[in-house]
């Protein structure tokens, strides 16, 4: 078993591109493209991050609406994102739907600097706080 000790991985041919051999042993995939660029576990009533990566201070837009700035910005606004939320207590029966914002900022921001997630109680037809609101972002870093 060998150990490589270093702080930075940089591609040789292209600095932002490192190839990784896949599980099957032959097909390759791109390391940088496959890495999650931001993840957040948020308790939204306060709101506060329970834990996070590449997310600076959360902005409380309104009930059920939260904006996560990227510590290191994305290269464009066409990144991919996913989120989900769960509630308990008085909202125990609710399943929270989490949507992202949009580039036009009509329903929240989806920009290189930050992304907004909206939590909507499926059974309550209303915005809701979540005990746990999880999200991940993939795409191109600047």
């Amino acid at each position: 078993m060998s150990t490589l000790l270093l702080n930075t991985l940089t591609g040789k041919t292209s600095a932002g591109s490192i190839v990784v051999t896949g599980e099957g042993g032959s097909t390759t995939t791109n390391l940088q493209q496959g890495l999650i660029k931001q993840w957040v576990n948020l308790t939204s009533a306060t709101p506060a991050y329970k834990d996070s990566f590449n997310a600076s201070s959360v902005t409380d837009e309104d009930l059920g609406k939260y904006e996560y700035p990227f510590t290191n910005p994305m290269g464009n606004a066409n990144y991919s994102a996913v989120g989900c939320g769960s509630t308990k207590g008085s909202n125990n029966s609710y399943s929270a739907i989490v949507t992202t914002g949009d580039t036009a900022d009509t329903y929240g921001l989806h920009s290189t600097a930050s992304i907004r997630f909206n939590a909507y109680a499926y059974n309550g037809s209303a915005f809701t706080d979540c005990d746990t609101m999880n999200s991940m972002v993939s795409g191109d870093l600047a």
Binding site: T3, V82, T100, A104, D140
Partner: protein, 131 residues
């Protein structure tokens, strides 16, 4: 082994200077198992189009709020994990689903207020084993 730009190793140790500043080690199994194998940002309105993506060969419009994505490099089986959703451009009651369809295809559905809708941002993330 170091040759032709390839390094073979089992463990990666880093200072984690960007996040915690605390040195951490990672078995390289977590790298090739843990990286996403595909992601997609799709404009699902009108004539659908890929806004940005990774490991995506093509997308198909299967009707209102129903899309399929074909992978450039196939997965080894159909038991991989998916996630995704869509933006709230018509209603905040937006329910998106992304499901494995085959080793080379993922299906995506967008709904708002219980009805299928086309959305301007439809997202999909795929993790699992490459073929």
């Amino acid at each position: 082994m170091v040759a032709h730009g390839t390094i073979a190793f089992d463990t990666l140790t880093t200072s984690d200077q960007v996040n915690t500043g605390t040195e951490k080690s990672l078995d390289t199994s977590y790298i090739f198992n843990g990286v996403l194998k595909a992601w997609l940002n799709l404009d699902g309105t009108g004539t659908i189009g890929i806004s940005d993506s990774f490991n995506t060969a093509s997308v198909t419009d299967n009707g209102t709020g129903s899309y399929a994505k074909t992978l450039s490099n196939a997965m080894s089986n159909s038991l991989y994990a998916t996630g995704g959703g869509h933006n709230a451009n018509s209603s905040f009651d937006a329910n998106g689903r992304v499901l494995p369809s085959s080793t080379t295809s993922v299906v995506m559905y967008a709904q708002a207020n219980g009805a299928s809708v086309d959305a301007s941002i439809v997202t999909a993330l795929v993790s699992g084993d490459l073929a």
